[in-house]
């Protein structure tokens, strides 16, 4: 076993050499398929991951899709095969914007888009700014780096409960500062119910999300060769120019992945609104994940909930595909 794997990689190397046109003698050696030489080892190594992904992600997703075509209510929890087929009824209910359920879903979708746009944009901006400002070494850099990672390290529920306390109308810090200390509002405002709740949600989400952007960008910055800056410096480029001409363009591939990941996490985020508002979010901050949870587990309408989930997944798939297409085209353009 051992020996075969070694020769495998040796022949692999020589194959690469011969294909470049150096001495074709080796080519005549009979090629054994890689699969046979290494045995089933790679498959064996992947087995646990594959089984678990199947059990926890793939199979449930398939069941979810099947359920979205059935009239699935709490009566069928112990007998899921018994739920009658209903074709596209659940989807019709979900997208019928003239009926209450469809209208609420559309509203929730809209709220989620606005929320995601601001939450991702600000988290990305803060993260990039922080990472660039900490790129050079100076006194206190290590401490600041640790401080900036604190929101990332704090467990979501502990941090968001604290924000919920800060946003309390009568005994919270936010109103104390805005109303009592700065006098900006006539009356203490409500933050966790009513129109302001979307602002509260965005602020908490940005607070929680930017350290991740900081972390990723900080790691990305370490891959930029120092010589680039030195060369630019010799050519007389100031620090602002270096940031614009070297740092930001070099970060482009990192940023593309980062923005996509932030988008998916923020769009799907359940934890923040759930801890901030509880099981039912205010209308103005009714994120889609909470909305589906509410439709499935509170009103027990699993079929419609599943249809909503599938629609959400389709939307995310399309957005991701379009995004990947645009960014890969952009990268090709940059290379040319």
């Amino acid at each position: 076993m051992t020996a075969t794997v070694t020769t495998d990689s040796l022949t692999e190397k020589s194959d690469r050499v011969t294909s470049r046109g150096n001495g074709g003698a080796r080519r005549r050696l009979p090629r054994i398929p890689d699969r046979i030489r290494q045995g089933g080892l790679p498959y064996l190594l992947l087995l646990p991951a594959v089984l678990l992904e199947l059990l926890v992600h793939v199979i449930p997703m398939v069941i979810g899709i099947v359920m979205s075509f059935r009239q699935f209510t709490q009566f069928y929890i112990n007998n899921w095969g018994g739920a009658p087929w209903s074709g596209f009824d659940n989807y019709k209910i979900a997208v019928d914007v003239n009926a209450p359920i469809g209208e609420a879903l559309l509203h929730s979708f809209f709220v989620t888009c606005v929320f995601t746009f601001f939450a991702v944009g600000l988290a990305w901006l803060f993260g990039v700014a922080a990472a660039i400002m900490l790129q050079e070494n100076f006194r206190g850099r290590g401490i600041l780096r640790a401080i900036f990672l604190v929101p990332y390290a704090l467990p979501v529920y502990a941090a968001v409960i604290t924000w919920a306390f800060m946003f309390q109308r009568d005994n919270g810090l936010i109103n104390h500062v805005l109303h009592d200390q700065l006098g900006l509002t006539d009356q203490p405002s409500f933050w966790l119910i009513g129109d302001n709740s979307i602002y509260a949600l965005i602020i908490v989400s940005v607070w929680k999300g930017w350290p991740f952007a900081f972390l990723i960008v900080m790691a990305g910055l370490q891959n930029i060769p120092r010589e680039l800056y030195e060369a630019a410096s010799i050519d007389g480029a100031g620090i602002w120019q270096q940031i614009r001409k070297i740092t930001l363009p070099s970060l482009r591939p990192v940023n593309q992945v980062l923005v996509l990941v932030l988008f998916l996490w923020t769009f799907n985020d359940f934890n923040t609104p759930y801890v901030l508002f509880g099981k039912a979010a205010p209308e103005n901050a009714d994120l889609i994940s909470i909305h589906i949870y509410q439709s499935s587990f509170v009103t027990w309408n699993f079929g419609t909930g599943s249809a909503m989930s599938v629609l959400l997944l389709l939307f995310l798939l399309v957005v991701t595909a379009v995004y990947l297409l645009i960014t890969s085209r952009g990268r090709k353009g940059a290379d040319a």
Partner: protein, 279 residues
């Protein structure tokens, strides 16, 4: 290189703003946890009117915090260990071998990242209930079910990151071990794993934090005895009379170990991300 004044001022401003933003809730958490109840029930004050450590004793009686703590430790710890081991094996296979289905595997695993949790929460709940009904293996409401679920949450990112990390370790190293007569698995543990410690620590930190902070599945998949901190902590906040000082004290208690551990290991996380995920 001497930075111009404009940069220095911009840096001071940005860093001061972000420091204040990052630490504001921490200040509220710490100061409010030391206030007597009448102080947190009234208007907020930056400076506590009187200091007390009573909330730190009361939190254990108001809700069974110790039990939740143990549950969270068991669930997050087990999910982390299993997830790291499985990710190491998978990443080794992908990084070192050519085989049919390699691309399908990596693409499928990565794309599970984008599934909204809510999409498979309900079916998974049904699977667990029905496995329980037909085989008697209680997954629903058990720690085992939650461990199984959580370990797959961090798995895609862990595999992805470790592939990058293993790729950055020269193949000559483990090939030399293979020539010396090690089997592939021994070569993995004797050569590749020790060389990849920063990446593995980074992945472990990520897995632990993912499991420690998860709320959605914890709230649906647990019962009174298996409840984790994620759900348990809401016990203070949803009662008619909210003991905010106790909520803050409990939040601090559950945060300190994980924040301390994270800050100790954060260098590994950056090193792991640099070599693995961000390339």
């Amino acid at each position: 290189m001497a930075a111009p004044q404009s940069f220095l001022w911009a840096r001071r401003f940005v860093l001061a703003f972000l420091t204040a933003f990052a630490l504001l809730p921490v200040y509220v958490m710490v100061s409010s946890s030391l206030k007597p109840l009448q102080d947190v029930s009234g208007k907020f004050h930056w400076i506590p009117s009187g200091l007390t450590v009573k909330p730190y004793f009361d939190i254990w009686d108001t809700v069974p915090l110790a039990r939740y703590f143990v549950n969270s430790l068991i669930v997050a710890g087990a999910a982390t260990v299993l997830s790291v081991i499985i990710a190491v094996f998978s990443a080794y296979a992908v990084s070192r071998y050519k085989f049919r289905g390699k691309r399908v595997f990596t693409v499928t695993v990565l794309s599970t990242q984008m599934f909204p949790g809510i999409l498979f929460l309900l079916p998974l709940f049904l699977i667990f209930v029905n496995i329980g009904n037909s085989t008697g293996v209680a997954l629903y409401g058990s720690r085992g079910g939650l461990i199984l679920t959580y370990l797959t949450f961090s798995l895609p990112f862990s595999i992805w990151m470790l592939i990058g990390y293993f790729d950055s370790i020269p193949r000559d190293l483990d090939e030399a071990a293979l020539v010396d007569g090690c089997g592939p698995i021994r070569a993995l543990f004797k050569v590749v794993v020790p060389a990849a410690v920063p990446g593995i620590v980074a992945v472990a930190v990520y897995a632990f934090m993912t499991a420690w902070g998860e709320v959605l599945f914890a709230s649906v998949m647990t019962n009174d005895t298996t409840r984790t901190l994620a759900v348990g902590l809401q016990g203070y906040a949803t009662q008619n009379d909210v003991y905010w000082n106790q909520v803050m004290a409990a939040s601090l208690v559950v945060s300190v170990p994980i924040v301390a551990g994270f800050l100790l290991l954060q260098r590994y996380l950056v090193a792991g991300l640099t070599a693995g995920a961000v390339k």
